[in-house]
Symmetry: C2
DNA sequence: GTGAAAGCGCTAACAG
DNA sequence: CTGTTAGCGCTTTCAC
C-alpha cells in the first residue's frame, strides 16, 4: 500500500498461462474450458475455476480478437448525437450487451470525410459489424468494400439507393401522406401546411414527397414553410415566420422541435386547436398526451427500428443469413388524438 | 464479380508485411515510419507511401493494441441512455475523435451488477481510460482495482465519497439553494415547493439538501412533492398531484421533465406565472426562452462537464498528471427570465 | 539508418 | 480427453 516515491505500481494482469500453471493444466485446456470448445473433465474444471477465482483472471479480449481476426464489437455511426437517435441507441445497446458485444459509437457530423474516417477507425478495430446512418452517397463504394472484407453492414434510418446493404427505414413518405389526407378528409381542412421542411435533410425529401402527393390527390394547394439548420437562431426565425402566418387551417410538423414551435406559437396567439387550426405533430414524447389538447402525432417506433437493424446485423455476423440485402420499411403510425 | 456458388469471397486485408515487401523494406521500417518513432530516409518514405496507397493498407489496431497492451479507446459508462447525458456524450465524442481514440459506450441501467459487468468488458478490451457515472457505492473498490491496473478513471456527474478518482460534478446543491433563496428574497414568495424529488436518485439527495438549507435559512416551511421512477404512469400521477396543489406560490422543479409537467399544469389551470406562482425550471432547452412567459431555469452546462471530464481523463492517460485525485465542482447557473 | 527476431495473450490444429 | 506448438499483426530491442 505504501508507494515507493515513483508513483503508482501497476500490477500486471494474470494471463491464461498463469491460470494454467496454478491449475496445473495447459493453456489450451483453460481456453477450451472458457470458450466451451471441447470437453473438459469436471476435475479440471474445478481446478481452473479456482485458479481463475484466486487470480481474478479476465481473458484479454485483444489477444482473442487478434487470433480470431474479429472483435466482439460493433460500430454505430450516426450523423449527430441527438435525441432523435436515442431510442435506436437504446435497443441496439441492449441487444449488443446481451450478446456480450460492445458498441463503439461515432458521429459523422454530416460530413462525408469524417464519415469515412470513422468507418476506417471501425475497421481498423476489426468490428464485426457496422450500423450506419449514412450521410452521403459518396461513401457507398467504400462501404461495399468493407462488406467485401467481411464486415456486416446495415443501414439505419436512411437508405442509399446505390448501396447494396440491408436497411431499416421508416416510411415517412407514407406517414406524412396519410397525415395530410387525414386532415383533409377527416378534419375537413382546406389549407394544410407542411411546416419546417429542411431541404438539406435527406429524410425531409421523403416527407415533402408524401405531402405533395397527398395535396395533389386532394386537389389542394401546396403550402410549405421551409427552415434551415437546427440552431436556436433558425428556430427563432421559424417561430416568428409561423407566428405571422394565419391563413392555414392545418399544420403538419416535420420534427418534434418544429411541433413544439408550432404549438407554442398557436397557443400564444390564442388560436383554438383543432377548431381553427388542426395540428399533427411528429414524434411522440410523453407530454403530447398530457397537454391540452392532446396532440395527434406521427410516431415512428425508433426503438423498434434499432432493434430490427441490430437483428439483421447479427443475422449476418453470426452467419444465419447470407443472401441478398433485406430492406425493411417500417410503418409510421398516426396516433389520433385531439389536436 | 461472379460468385463461385459458395457465397462472398472475403479479401484478406494487407498487413505491414505486405507493405514492407512491396516497398522493399522491412516491417520495422514501415512501423517506424507510420508511428514516427525514428528517422526514415525520404526515399524509403516515398516507397512506403506508395505501397500503402496501392494496397490501401490500414494498420491493424488490434495487433497494435496487443503489443502495446493498451487500446486507443475509452469507455463511457452511463446509467441510462437518456437525453440528459447527450451534451456530455457530445463533448466527449469530439475530444475522443480528435485524439484518434474511439469511444465504447455502455449503460448500467442503474444496476450494480450490470455496472460491474460493463466495467469488466471495458477492461477486457484494454481501454486506456473510463468515464463513469457511477450507480452504486458497491463498485468503488472494484473501480480502484482498475486504476491499480493502470486504467485511468474519471467520475462524471456523480461522485462517490469512497472512491479515490478524479471527478467532475455540478453543484446542484448550491444551485437549488440559490434558486430557492432567489424566489424568497427577490420574488417575495413564501411557500416555495421542491417539486419532483425522487429519493431513489443520488443527485436528488443534493437537490433536497440545497432546498432544505435554503428554506431553513429563510425561516420557511419545507414543501416537497415526491415522485418515483421516470415512466409515463408516475408522470401522470405527478401531474395530477401537482394539479390539485394550490397553496404554493413558488415551484422549483428537479428535472426538465418535471418542469414540463409543472408548466403544463399551471397553464391548464389558468394560473398566472409568475404573479400567482413563480416557476424555476431545471435544464435549459431551447423552448424555455421561446415560450410565454420565458422561464427562469437552473442550467448545468453539461457539455462543458463532459469536456472537463475527458480532459482530466486524457491528462491521466497521457501521463501529464499523476497526482492526487482532482475534483471539479461546476457551478450551475441560474438563468433569470420571466417565470 | 535499417533489418532480424522475439514476443504481446490467445486459439486451434495436430499429436498423443 | 489433454498438452504441445505455431502463429494472428504489430512494435521494439539489439545488431549490423
Amino acid at each position: 500500500m505504501v508507494g515507493d516515491g515513483t508513483g503508482k505500481e501497476i500490477k500486471k494482469l494474470p494471463t491464461s498461462e498463469d491460470v494454467a500453471q496454478l491449475a496445473g493444466v495447459s493453456r489450451a485446456t483453460v481456453s477450451a474450458y472458457i470458450n466451451g470448445r471441447r470437453y473438459v473433465s469436471d476435475k479440471l474444471k474445478k481446478k481452473i475455476d479456482r485458479a481463475i477465482d484466486i487470480l481474478n483472471y479476465t481473458p484479454n479480449e485483444i489477444a482473442r480478437s487478434l487470433k480470431l481476426q474479429s472483435n466482439k464489437a460493433i460500430g454505430l455511426l450516426i450523423p449527430v448525437l441527438s435525441k432523435f437517435y436515442l431510442p435506436m441507441m437504446r435497443s441496439i445497446n441492449e441487444k449488443v450487451h446481451d450478446l456480450g458485444y460492445t458498441m463503439i459509437l461515432g458521429s459523422s457530423e454530416e460530413d462525408l470525410q469524417r464519415e469515412k474516417e470513422v468507418l476506417r477507425v471501425f475497421t481498423s478495430k476489426k468490428v464485426s459489424g457496422i450500423l450506419v446512418v449514412p450521410c452521403s452517397y459518396k461513401n457507398a463504394r467504400y462501404i461495399e468494400q468493407l462488406q467485401d472484407s467481411g464486415i456486416a453492414v446495415v443501414q439505419l434510418n436512411r437508405k442509399l439507393d446505390r448501396l447494396e446493404a440491408d436497411s431499416v427505414v421508416s416510411d415517412t413518405n407514407g406517414a406524412i401522406h396519410n397525415a395530410t389526407v387525414h386532415m383533409v378528409k377527416a378534419r375537413n381542412k382546406k389549407r394544410v401546411m407542411l411546416m419546417g421542411y429542411n431541404p438539406a435533410v435527406i429524410a425531409d425529401l421523403d416527407k415533402r414527397a408524401g405531402y405533395l402527393s397527398a395535396v395533389e390527390e386532394c386537389g389542394l394547394e401546396a403550402l410549405i414553410m421551409e427552415t434551415a439548420a437546427h440552431d436556436p437562431g433558425e428556430l427563432a426565425k421559424l417561430f416568428s415566420a409561423f407566428s405571422s402566418e394565419n391563413s392555414v387551417d392545418g399544420v403538419i410538423c416535420t420534427t418534434r422541435t418544429n411541433m413544439e414551435v408550432a404549438l407554442q406559437s398557436l397557443k400564444n396567439r390564442g388560436v383554438r386547436i383543432p377548431e381553427e387550426v388542426s395540428v399533427i405533430g411528429y414524434d411522440d414524447p410523453i407530454w403530447t398526451s398530457l397537454v391540452d389538447p392532446k396532440v395527434t402525432v406521427i410516431s415512428e417506433d425508433r426503438y423498434k427500428m434499432g432493434d430490427q437493424a441490430v437483428n439483421l446485423l447479427f443475422d449476418r455476423i453470426e452467419g444465419r443469413y447470407t443472401g441478398e440485402p433485406k430492406h425493411i420499411l417500417m410503418d409510421a403510425e398516426l396516433i389520433l388524438r385531439e389536436s
